[in-house]
């Protein structure tokens, strides 16, 4: 297997050999869309971390006299029906989207990856249990599962992490299981076993490193899905409760004002769209870089 070294270094953070600027330019030429996506994620992360500095005012200040203003120099994205500044609310809303996205991916990975390793490595009854479990979650309409779980556990970032992560975990389990099945019978695993290595050691030292690359690809696509799902739940009114600013929640509040204040619906939706798009672009770029089979087909 040959991997694209430049992209591997970018994604896995191994040591760089050439100066950073030159490296970036080379990567950009090769994967322009993925690099644009990465730049946008970087920007959103900065905005989320420095929200109090970026926002032009407190996102929750209600000002009835200035309600429903069109975008202007004072209010870049206008104001909502309570006179709150839309730009500032989008700034703070990025925190919820990113937190839920990252945490859901971590939870899905923490649950799905070990289960996939167990199913693939031990097979038999373990494989059966894990696969029926994953079939059940996949067959469960995921938005209904998430809705029910959020209603049971109450809306919070951790609840959303659990509800969305649970729905995404079978994808990890199946992916890892497939990779393990492919790797399990290879010579280096056999030789480790004949040298007396324990199962745990074989999984940790020999099997897991070989399934890491597809997991990274899957993670950026899973995060895109989680960001979209969080926005959908907030739009349906079961996400993080108002007045906390969330992009989906802002769309829910502005939806029935479409006749009088359509701009209110444009900006939060565009934010969700661009974040999801960037994550998809990075996922595609990583897949092209890490999967030699697809690259061969595309060249």
């Amino acid at each position: 297997m040959t991997y694209d070294v430049a992209a591997m270094e970018l994604s896995l953070g191994t040591r760089r050999r050439s100066p950073r600027g030159k490296q970036l330019r080379r990567l950009f030429r090769k994967y322009p869309l993925a690099m644009i996506g990465a730049a946008f994620i970087f920007l959103v992360t900065l905005v989320a971390l420095a929200a109090p500095l970026v926002a032009t005012q407190d996102p929750n200040i209600v000002d009835g006299r200035n309600a429903l203003q069109t975008p202007s120099a004072d209010h870049w994205f206008g104001t909502d029906r309570l006179g709150r500044d839309v730009f500032s609310r989008i700034t703070y809303g990025s925190r919820i989207s990113l937190q839920v996205g990252v945490l859901a991916v971590l939870f899905a990975g923490a649950l799905g990856v070990p289960l996939g390793l167990i199913a693939g490595y031990f097979g038999g009854i373990w494989d059966g249990i894990v696969m029926r479990w994953s079939d059940s979650i996949i067959a469960f309409p995921n938005i209904v599962l998430a809705l029910a779980l959020v209603l049971v556990l109450g809306p919070s970032v951790l609840t959303l992490m659990f509800a969305l992560g649970l729905g995404a975990s079978p994808a990890y389990a199946r992916l890892v299981r497939g990779q393990v099945l492919a790797v399990r019978e290879l010579d280096f695993v056999m030789s480790a076993r004949s040298a007396g290595a324990s199962d745990l050691r074989i999984i940790g030292q020999h099997v897991f490193p070989n399934v890491a690359a597809p997991i990274i690809v899957a993670s950026s696509l899973t995060m895109a899905g989680a960001v979209l799902a969080e926005a959908s739940l907030s739009f349906l009114g079961v996400g993080i409760r108002p007045p906390t600013a969330t992009w989906g929640g802002m769309l829910q509040e502005s939806y029935d004002l479409i006749y009088v204040a359509p701009w209110l619906s444009v900006f939060p939706g565009a934010a969700i769209f661009l974040l999801t798009l960037s994550l998809n672009l990075i996922g595609d770029g990583l897949r092209d870089a890490l999967d030699p089979r697809i690259r061969r087909a595309a060249s």
Partner: protein, 318 residues
């Protein structure tokens, strides 16, 4: 082959039980009591303890969860999906009433997805790395990222608010008033069909690219066949099967999407029924809706897997 189909079929009830039992337990952990929901609505604030208890017993909610589940399964096997805890009408009839709207939306969206996604994917693969390919691929990746509820809002803004071309929300069966029905379906279908066509386009492109790389395509080219013949006879025939599988897998996404789209456009479908029954704590109704969703997904997946194995003799199943 038959053994594979039978073994695959025995997994269906296991998964169905897994899904419905876990939903059963989750729903009973929900804060809020369906009895309170019923009484609070019909009789204002009067709480007659005896009446509450009687209603609870009548609906079987006083028994342990597993007993309730057992009763539900026993009734289900006899074709009875129970009665709604909300309006006490039979769940089965209410779900049947909701099927036309969901069917309209699903069939229309799938048609749009097939008509746009497959041709776009094929052209993109045949002309790979051309500017047309980049354009189509980019539109598809945008289609996957766009939240369908936001896309719906934008459609309503353009076609209802600005241009005043389409009625905003509602549903009319096509056999009652075809013109009005299609007008009402136009926006929900576009919103749901866009994501589907984007995903179908990407899979089609990847599949066709893979087939183009096969030895038999090279052979066909080498023996001097015209490229249109190669595409029609060798590439498309071999690419169609994987593409059909993807279509089968998308039925799940279609159902999930219908939950939001039907709610947005006030379509009286099963997806909207799911949201309504969660909001009103209608245990039996939600149980029925999820059962129907899950069963559809499982049956379609089963049919796709088995047809795949039937048609392609190279595939062996253990």
């Amino acid at each position: 082959m038959l053994a594979y189909a039978v073994r695959r079929l025995t997994q269906v009830p296991i998964v169905l039980i897994g899904v419905t039992l876990s939903l059963f337990i989750i729903m009973r952990l929900l804060p809020g009591d369906p009895i309170q929901a019923i009484i609070g609505e019909s009789e204002g604030a009067s709480f007659d303890e005896e009446a509450v208890q009687a209603l609870r017993e009548e609906l079987g909610l006083d028994k342990p969860v597993l007993v309730q589940y057992g009763t539900w399964v026993t009734d289900l096997v006899q074709g009875d999906m129970g009665q709604s805890t909300r309006n006490r009408l039979p769940v089965r009839e209410q779900i049947f009433d909701r099927i036309p709207a969901t069917l309209h939306l699903g069939v229309a969206s799938l048609t749009v997805a097939l008509l746009i996604g497959v041709p776009a994917g094929v052209v993109s693969a045949l002309k790979r790395n051309s500017s047309l390919d980049f354009l189509v691929t980019f539109v598809a990746i945008c289609g996957l990222a766009i939240p369908n509820f936001w896309f719906s809002i934008l459609l309503i803004w353009l076609f209802v608010v600005e241009l005043n071309l389409l009625p905003a929300t509602g549903f009319v069966p096509i056999w009652e008033d075809p013109v009005q029905s299609l007008k009402l379906l136009a926006m929900p279908t576009t919103a749901l069909g866009l994501t589907l066509s984007a995903s179908l386009m990407r899979h089609t492109r990847a599949t066709v690219l893979e087939v183009l790389n096969q030895d038999y395509v090279r052979t066909a080219r080498a023996k001097g066949l015209r490229s249109s013949v190669v595409v029609r006879r060798h590439v498309m025939r071999n690419a169609m099967l994987p593409i059909l599988t993807i279509v089968g897998l998308q039925v799940g996404g279609l159902l999930a999407g219908s939950v939001i789209i039907e709610t947005m456009f006030s379509m009286p479908g099963i997806g909207r029924l799911a949201i309504q029954s969660i909001n009103s704590r209608d245990y039996t109704m939600l149980q029925g809706v999820v059962l129907v969703f899950t069963a559809i997904t499982l049956v379609v997946n089963f049919a796709t897997d088995v047809s795949y194995a039937l048609v392609d003799p190279r595939i062996k199943y253990r």
